[in-house]
């Protein structure tokens, strides 16, 4: 018997909204949460760059309890998002369900803020590293924290594939449920690296935007680092139906592959191949009802490459699609990008509204799709595709369909 996977809960902590409700109103408003901020270390070093931070959540972090107060920020954001998703799902993890629940929470980097503070303390202040440093920085910290918090005893681990992490986590968790290894899963990703050392490293790569993120616009000149987390509750369809759960959508496809070419430069064939794999088993009658939440980083190379990949998959129908990059509003959440953008895709599907590409100033002949510039558009979506293409050439695409 085929096992299908549905989504029964969503939770998000994003720069443009730290709950599903706020995130959706942020996305549809077309307002960007990107701003310039100064980051410093040891009163000696500093830089000012555009970032997309999550502000105003300190009280909620305190409310998570003592165990989480001493965790790194990426664990705190993950747990905040997961709590919202679990609440929406209505699930309570008792003994039996806990044993059948997976917890796959990824991160691109891990506890970098803790690492940075540790090095500053060691090298500039001659203080020893904090004894909890290791437990804070390990990439599996959010998966472990959630497993302990809710007694989740099925498959649990972290996924890491840079900017494709969140999509890989959701896809892998969906496959685990399909395989029978679990009936329910928490799946998503978290990232929180807004600190001096990390941002200086990103700047060294010469890939950060100077003002803001302008995906697909001719004047785009780089990405903007954001922080946040997105977590989904996935559930085997008959399990969800048997308990009368509110089913938000079905996972219709998961495509993953690798370019096998270059650490920085993306390849059209990799991106189009991953999209084709995600769409492989689907029959889509009307492609004007497809929304593509693009990877759309706003870098010089990603956007035309992704445009070509979308054209090669959809052919002449590519012009009918609604495409947008919500990174223009919440920045690039790195590992968490796929988690948060899958949620944007599902909300677009559910609400029949395509969130826009903000900061779109100027058409680029090399980027010639309908990117939903600057204003949200009402459209009766039947399929939403979330694209994630990572540094290192690792690609993951998830397709969601209405139930």
């Amino acid at each position: 018997m085929t096992r299908n996977v549905v989504v029964t809960g969503l939770g998000v902590v994003a720069p443009n909204g730290a709950s599903i409700q706020d995130f959706w109103s942020g996305l549809t408003s077309g307002k960007s949460a990107i701003l310039k901020r100064e980051y410093s270390a040891a009163d000696k070093y500093s830089l000012t760059v555009p970032v997309a931070p999550v502000d105003g959540v300190e009280d909620r972090i305190k409310g998570l309890g003592v165990q989480l107060m001493r965790a790194d920020r990426f664990s705190q954001l993950a747990v905040m998002a997961a709590e919202e998703a679990i609440e929406q799902s209505g699930l309570e993890f008792g003994e039996a369900l806990g044993a059948r629940t997976a917890c796959i929470i990824g991160t691109g980097i891990g506890g970098q803020i803790t690492f940075d503070e540790g090095y500053v303390n060691m090298l500039c202040r001659e203080r020893r590293p904090h004894p909890l440093t290791i437990l804070k920085v390990i990439p599996n910290a959010p998966a472990s924290q959630l497993s302990i918090r809710h007694g989740l005893r099925g498959p649990a681990f972290a996924v890491s594939s840079a900017c494709a992490t969140g999509a890989h986590a959701i896809g892998v968790c969906s496959d685990l449920i399909k395989s029978g290894a679990a009936d329910v899963g928490l799946a998503g990703a978290s990232e929180a690296i807004l600190c001096y050392g990390a941002l200086e490293s990103w700047r060294a790569m010469h890939i950060l935007a100077d003002e803001t993120c302008r995906p697909f616009s001719k004047n785009r000149n780089g990405l903007v680092i954001g922080e946040g987390a997105g977590v989904l509750v996935l559930e085997e369809e008959s399990h969800a139906k048997a308990r009368g759960a509110d089913i938000l959508c079905r996972i219709a496809g998961f495509g993953m592959n690798a370019d096998g070419k270059d650490m920085i430069n993306p390849a059209v064939e990799g991106a189009s191949g991953a999209m084709s794999l995600a769409l492989e088993k689907m029959k889509i009658d009307d492609r004007s009802r497809v929304y593509v939440n693009a990877h759309g980083t706003g870098t010089l190379l990603n956007d035309p490459t992704e445009t070509k990949a979308i054209r090669s998959v959809f052919g002449a129908d590519a012009d009918k699609l609604a495409v947008s990059s919500t990174k223009s509003m919440h920045g690039h959440l790195l590992g968490a990008a796929g988690g948060v953008e899958c949620i944007a895709s599902i909300l677009a599907l559910k609400n029949g509204v395509v969130p826009p590409t903000a900061n779109y100033d100027e058409p680029d002949p090399e980027c010639d799709l309908n990117y939903t510039p600057n204003n949200a558009e009402e459209r009766d979506i039947s399929v939403a595709l979330s694209n994630s293409f990572a540094f290192g050439g690792l690609n993951a695409v998830i397709a969601f369909e209405k139930v």
């Binding site: 003592v66 165990q67 107060m69 001493r70 020893r128 904090h130 004894p131 909890l132 437990l135």
Partner: protein, 82 residues
């Protein structure tokens, strides 16, 4: 010695998120709201703030059977190489 004990109490108090009243030698550890993380943190701060060494292996928790804060302070005093 009294000053030293007061400093220890002060450090423990900072981590006692579950504490409602005063912190004394008679306060029960169970009422402090601390966990395995806290014990490691408390020892680290004792070492940092008081300039002492606490030979301690997190896998052989010597604080497992203690009931009161007094027991904890006595155990720390025994371990500390001043």
């Amino acid at each position: 010695m009294a000053d030293f004990e007061a400093s220890l109490l002060e450090i423990i108090k900072e981590h006692a998120v579950g504490l409602t009243g005063e912190l004394t030698r008679d306060t029960q550890i169970a009422d402090l709201g601390i966990d395995s993380f806290s014990v490691v943190e408390i020892i680290y701060e004792v070492e940092e703030k008081l300039g002492v060494e606490v030979p301690f292996n997190a896998n052989e928790n010597p604080f497992g059977d203690m009931a009161s804060v007094g027991d904890l302070i006595d155990a720390l005093n025994k371990l500390i190489k001043k």
